[in-house]
Homo-oligomer: 190 residues x 2
DNA sequence: CTTCTCAGTCAACACTTGTACACTATTGTT
DNA sequence: AACAATAGTGTACAAGTGTTGACTGAGAAG
């Protein structure tokens, strides 16, 4: 799995990485691959599981505390951006899989995103603005938030420079977008 | 180009389609490929150009007329959704390329999206709410809108059923999201 | 009528691909 | 000490890969 991930990080598309390349990069003979996975798709699904696990752990650790919504948003995005930069290869892979993976992989990514949307929904339910909002509407808002954060991830990854400034530019930009959504959500029921 | 496109439509990832497959599918010998393109990347760039052209034509035809913003949004999304369904293969390809293509392809998609963001900006400048908004802020809003519409395109494509209802569900969902953004944008300057 | 350009063909190359089969080394459990 | 499970090795094969070079036919341009 680590081998496949580094190959993706080197600029290869997961779809066009061969079982043999993975084996070679792992310092192992091709036939050994079958001791671990039936094929590349299975390996991909395991990678996605692993990332999902890490993300959930992160989510639990940075659970939304009662706080001023502006700093709360900013802090969340900052944490997310840091996590992405620490696991670039995973996110390249996840982005590729969302649109270009096999049906099973695409579905797995979708499920992951849906999970975050739901978590977010139960979290922001506590905020006074959303206390008595229709569940469907709340779902749309959280979907929009998750999509917004996730959509620009690829742009963050593609920045050639990986210095502090690039990351904070991404954070600023994303926070502004989220602020618009918050404002819109606040006006929603009116 | 048509050959490559149908292969993508059949569920293949553009990245892992071989030059030979394209030639075969086009009913031509592999070496003939070189009469048209240097390699698959060049073919991909041409495909993106073609799609860009079609989209611009569509944009010009459905130029925003002075109208009630709600019906205007709805109408725009409906037209877009129809266009996507009429050119499914192109959009599969574009989505794959955005995150999984070669650097040149990714950049080309980014440029395309930026173009739409800019077009949208000059269009909605006319609306009273945005008349005197900071250009940077307006850019962020249009970026958010374009991302929102584009992000959910893959979900529209992945619907197994392609009936009227599926499409109109997508339209409803997207319009709601855009409505939130409009509301938020209206509150922005305050 | 000749000439040139374009899109096509054929054969060949060196290399990579997924997978099958039989075998070996390592390791944890009884 | 013996055993079973796990992860590794080597060889082999048929199929597919990008790209080469030299050749052919159709039609446009002169």
């Amino acid at each position: 799995m680590q081998s496949a991930l580094t190959l993706v990080g080197d600029g290869n598309n997961f779809n066009s990485i061969s079982l043999r390349e993975v084996a070679k990069n792992a310092g192992v003979v091709p036939t050994s691959f079958y001791r671990h996975f039936r094929d590349m798709e299975e390996l991909g699904l395991h990678l996605l599981d692993e990332l999902g696990l890490m993300l959930r752990k992160l989510l639990r650790k940075t659970r939304l505390r009662d706080d001023y919504i502006e700093t709360l948003t900013r802090e969340s995005v900052r944490v997310y951006a840091g996590f992405v930069m620490e696991h670039r290869n995973y996110f390249y892979f996840m982005n590729q899989s969302r649109t270009g993976g096999t049906p099973a992989l695409r579905e797995a990514v979708r499920t992951e995103l849906r999970y975050f949307s739901n978590e977010l929904a139960t979290d922001i339910r506590r905020l006074p603005i959303f206390a008595q909002m229709n569940t469907d509407d709340l779902g749309i808002i959280t979907e929009l938030i998750v999509e917004t954060v996730f959509a620009s991830t690829i742009d963050l990854l593609d920045q050639t420079k990986t210095d502090e400034k690039t990351t904070s530019d991404y954070v600023d930009n994303t926070v502004k977008k989220l602020r618009i959504i918050w404002l819109g959500a606040g006006e929603w029921q009116s």
